[in-house]
C-alpha cells in the first residue's frame, strides 16, 4: 500500500500518521513513513527525536550529490523505517522543488522495499506542483485528508481534493476518506460526515481530542507506544484497520467556496 496524508498545517497529520504507522507495524506490516515537509518533524514520534539527517540535507552536503540509503533511512519505533525529505529554512529557496528532488532521489536509490506499506506525510495544502508530486507521480495511491470542523481546515481539505481531482485522470491516486481530527467545534462530526459525502468520499475516522496525545508527544512517543492499551490507541488501530480494508477509493468532487461556506453555516448552531 502507498498512502499519503494531506491536510492543513498544524491539523495533526504527523501525529496521526505516526500513530497509524505504529499501528500498522503492530499488525505485522513492514512500514516506511516519509515526511514531506521542510520542518522534518513527521517522524519525531517514531524516532524519539527530530530527524537530523534528511534527504535534502544529505544531498546538499555531499560534494558530488551522491547519497546512500544508509544515510537517509533511519530506524524508528518497532523497526519502522523513517525518512524525512527535508528542505530549506523558512523564507528561502523552494520547498516544493525540494520534495520533487527528495522523492526522485528515494526512487533512484530504491530504498523502500516492495513489500513495505509506505505512508507519505505531506505538508499542509497542495500549494504548488512539488507538494502534488506524491499524488501526481503515483508515489501514493490512497490519499487521506486530515481535517477538523474549522473553516480553514475544511477549505484546505477541499483544495487538496481539487488537487487529487486534477491528477485523477493520469494516475491511480484516489481519495480514501476524510480523517476527522477533533477540535471540539460545534456539530463537528456531523459536519465532517456531510463534508466528506459532498466530496464523494466518507469520514473514515473521527479521532476525539484526548490529553493523552499531548502527553505522548511530550515524551516524543506515539500513543501506541506511550499508552498501548488506551482508548486513543484503539482509535488509531481501528483507523489502520479501516485504511487497510478500504475499497472505497474515489475521485473527489470538490466544492466551490460558497458551497463550503453554506455547508459550514448549516452546522454552525
Amino acid at each position: 500500500m502507498k498512502i499519503a496524508f494531506y491536510g492543513k498545517g498544524g491539523i495533526g497529520k504527523s501525529t496521526t500518521a505516526a500513530n497509524v504507522s505504529a499501528a500498522f507495524r503492530k499488525k505485522g506490516h513492514k512500514v516506511c513513513q516519509i515526511g514531506c515537509d521542510p520542518k522534518n518533524d513527521s517522524t519525531r514520534l517514531l524516532l524519539g527525536h527530530i530527524c537530523k539527517q534528511t534527504v535534502l540535507d544529505t544531498v546538499r552536503d555531499s560534494e558530488d550529490g551522491e547519497v546512500t540509503a544508509e544515510q537517509i533511512v533511519h530506524e524508528g519505533f518497532n523497526g519502522i523505517k523513517c525518512v524525512e525529505a527535508g528542505g530549506p529554512e523558512p523564507g528561502v529557496g523552494c520547498a516544493g522543488r525540494g520534495i520533487i528532488v527528495a522523492l526522485e532521489k528515494l526512487n533512484a536509490l530504491n530504498v523502500i522495499p516492495e513489500d513495505s506499506l509506505v505512508l507519505y506525510d505531506v505538508l499542509g495544502d497542495v500549494v504548488c506542483g512539488g507538494f502534488a508530486v506524491p499524488i501526481r507521480e503515483g508515489y501514493a495511491t490512497d490519499i487521506y485528508i486530515v481535517s477538523s470542523g474549522e473553516l480553514m481546515s475544511l477549505y484546505a481539505a477541499n483544495n487538496i481534493a481539487k488537487g487529487i481531482c486534477r491528477f485523477a485522470g493520469r494516475g491511480k491516486a484516489r481519495i480514501g476518506g476524510i480523517i476527522g481530527n477533533s477540535r471540539n467545534t460545534i456539530n463537528e462530526e456531523k459536519l465532517l460526515e456531510e463534508f466528506a459525502k459532498r466530496l464523494n468520499t466518507r469520514l473514515i475516522a473521527f479521532i476525539p481530542r484526548d490529553i493523552i496525545v499531548n502527553q505522548a508527544e511530550n515524551k516524543r512517543q506515539t500513543v501506541i507506544q506511550f499508552a498501548p492499551t488506551s482508548n486513543q490507541a484503539k482509535v488509531y488501530e481501528k483507523l489502520a484497520n479501516d485504511i487497510e480494508s478500504n475499497t472505497q477509493l474515489t475521485v473527489p468532487t470538490p466544492m466551490t467556496f460558497e458551497e463550503l461556506e453554506e455547508l459550514i453555516s448549516k452546522y454552525a448552531d
Binding site: L56, C94, R97, V101
Partner: protein, 432 residues
Amino acid sequence: MPIKTKRFINKKRSCSCSMPGVWRAVGYSKGAVVIFHSPKACAHVSHTMDINAHFRGIARGEREPYGYSTPLISTMLTEKHSIFGGAKQLEKCLDFVVQKYKPQYIVIANSCVVGVIGDDVAAIAATAEEKFNLPIITLPCYGFLDGEYYAGYYGTADALVDRFLSGGLPRDKNSVILLGDNGGPNAEYAVEVKSLLAYFGLHVIGQFPGYVAYNDMNKVTTAALSIVLGGRGQANDSLVKIAKKLEEKFAIPFYGEPYPLGWQGTKEWLINLGAKLHKEAAAKKAIDEQKERLDAILSVAREKLRDKKIVICIGRQIEYFRPEWLMEILQLSEIVPLGVILLDSYTTKDRAHMEEAIKNCTNMDVFNQVEGAKIVDAADIILTTHEIENYNARQLFLPMLPTVGVTGMIKLINNIIKIACRHGNKEGIVYG
C-alpha cells in the same frame, strides 16, 4: 520545385530573456563586472552573443571598442540552490569577483530560477555594497519571467543614470551622446550617424550605456544633445525613455526621430535635425551631398540590373523587417521585381501586418510560399530574409538590421550588383 528554407522557421512569436539585455547595457563599460545569478548556461548564452558580435564585427572590418568586453560571471546555481536558496552562492560570487577583478561597479542580473525561489538579491547587494564600498546594481528582472531583453537593457541604463550621473560639469556645446547599441561605436549605424552629424559641426563624445567607462560616466551629462540610435519598437521606446530622463535631470535635449533609414528616411532625419538645431542650411548641404552619392550608385545599378529578374522572399516578422527601405532601393534603381513571396513563417495576424506594409509601399504581387515557387523558378536573383535551399538562383541574404543612411544603401546596392554580375553560371549567396 517547392520553396524550402534552409533553416526551420517557427510560426510562434519569439520571446527573450532580460539577462543578456543587462549584460549588453554595460557590455563594454570599463570598470564593470556583470554577475548572472543563474545556472551556468544562462551566462553561456550571453557569452556566445558576445563572441558572435565580435566575429560579425571582424567580418565587417569593424574595430572592436577598446578591445575590451565586460567580464561576465555566473553564480552557477545548481539543483541544491534552487531548493535551499542561492543567497550564499551569490555572496561567495561577490567576494570572488571583488578579489579577482577589482571592479569599479557590479551589476547583478537575475535568472528565472532566482525569480521562482525568491532570493533577496537586493538585500545581499546592499550588504555587499557596504562591505566592499562598491556600487552594486540590482534589477527587478528575472530572466524570462518578466520583461524581455529590453527590460534588462533599459533597467540597467536607467539604474546607471540614477547611480552614476550627477551632472555639475560644464556643457560641451557641440557634443552629442548617442543612446543605444546597434553594434557599438564602430558599427555601421553609429559611424553613419557620426558622419551625418559632422555636417552640423557636432561631435560624438560617447555611446551610452554600453560603451561608457565607469570613469567617464558623468561626462555623459556634458553633452549638448542626445541622439537615440533607435530601431525596432521596444528598443526605441526604452531608449527614448532614457533620453527623456537625461533631459529631465540634466537638461540635455534629445533627438529621437526615426533613424536615417532609406533615402526618404535619411532626408527627413537630416531636415528634422537641421530644424531642431536651427541649422537648416547645413541640413540642405548634407542632403545635396548625400543625394549626389546615391545618384552615382543608382546609375550603375540601373545599368547593371536592367535585365535581371528579381524576386523578394520575406519571412521575418514586421518588427524585425520593415519592407519600405528595400522597396525604395528597388524603385530608385528602377527594378521591377517579379513579386514578393511571404514565407510560411507568419501567424495570420503577422502575415496581415506584413502584407499591409508591403501594399503601402508597392503595388507588387504578393505570393504565398506555394504560389511563389513559379516566380522563384524564373528568378536570376532572390533577395531573401531566409536562405532558400535547392535553387540555382543567386541569393542576397537581407540583413537583420536595416542598412542606415546612404552609405547603407550603397552597400546593399553594391551587394545586389555583386551577386548579379557573378561570372558564368555561379550560384551562391551574399550576406547583405
